[in-house]
Amino acid sequence: MDNDLQELEAELKRLRPLAPSRAVTDAIARQLAAAPRRHRNFWAWTALPLAAMVAGLVLLREQSVAPAPTPALALAPAPVTAPMSAAARYKPVSAENLLYAQSDAGLVTLSDGTQARRTRSSYVDTITWKNSRTQASLKWSVPRTEERIVPVSFQ
């Protein structure tokens, strides 16, 4: 790269992007302080993909286990292999949230008497792990429903 481009690159790196407003930090603090809402059917929705993932892992493990040696072969010394942790080989590479449905659940009245609108959004969260050694990847998708209550005055 040209010297002048390198100088420009260095100049750009010295610029500091503006920070989010104080309101964003306050809103994050409020959201993190509140217990995360789980949908009523969360475990029902989660159980199926979780079971599928566990079954897949068990299947992989079964396939990787060598068959029991015959008596003749058992006389030969067993090959020594270094123990390897399956969890250590897979690293998460992406997490995606796909919005596939949204509905307006109508107006609600908050405790202070103000009106708010309740919206319901349905997502599919997909997390992908990848094994950089074998390039194998593992995807876990789980549906999630999120409800938001937004004061009408802000709409």
Binding site: L8, P17, P20, A27, S94, N97
Partner: protein, 183 residues
């Protein structure tokens, strides 16, 4: 001169309980996330909503996954921006009032030591870049992602990401040179 405080170590982050430790992390990464979000949203307010959503989601659900949390966060920001765009498209025209993402006249950067003119020139030049070049530049310079990570974010081959980055820098240089000549 150190522009940012040192970020909390990623390795230790997984062991931190849900206390106030997120504030240090957000103070470090919040501005970078906002800048990225502004490329993909119609207004600064939308970009802040996107950053808020993505950060809360990351902190609650994804930070303990290990791997590259920075890349996960940018993915989360991008997805949140796409979701918001879908929601916005369903609004009536009356409700959609864009005050501009990076297209707006809202400043993008803090005032550097050299003065406001240079910052303004850079911001103008940055806004003039084609969108596909600008997003690569922003993710590389301020997002501090590698070309491989940028390529994964945007669904591009890494070589294309690297080419767009070089084109963006060259276009910025030309625009700034022209601004100097006319200024």
């Amino acid at each position: 001169m150190t522009l940012f405080r040192k970020a909390p170590s990623i390795e230790s982050m997984a062991d931190i309980p849900d206390d106030e430790s997120w504030r240090d992390w957000f103070q470090h990464y919040g501005p970078k996330l906002l800048l990225c979000a502004r490329q993909w949203t119609r207004s600064v307010a939308d970009a802040e909503d996107v950053v808020q959503d993505a950060f809360v989601r990351f902190w609650r659900n994804q930070r303990k996954l290990g791997g590259e949390p920075q890349a996960l966060l940018y993915t989360s920001v991008r997805r949140a921006a796409i979701d918001l765009a879908r929601r916005n498209s369903r609004r009536t025209a009356r409700e959609v009032r864009a005050d501009g993402g990076l297209e707006s006249i809202e400043p993008i950067f803090h005032l550097p030591l050299e003065g406001d003119d240079r910052r303004a020139e850079i911001e103008t030049a940055l806004r003039g870049l084609p969108e596909e070049q600008r997003e690569v530049l922003v993710l590389k310079i301020w997002g501090e992602l590698t070309f491989e990570q940028i390529a994964a974010q945007l669904g591009l081959p890494p070589n294309t990401a690297a080419s767009r980055y070089r084109y963006a820098l060259a276009a910025l240089r030309d625009a700034l040179t022209a601004a100097d000549c006319h200024g």
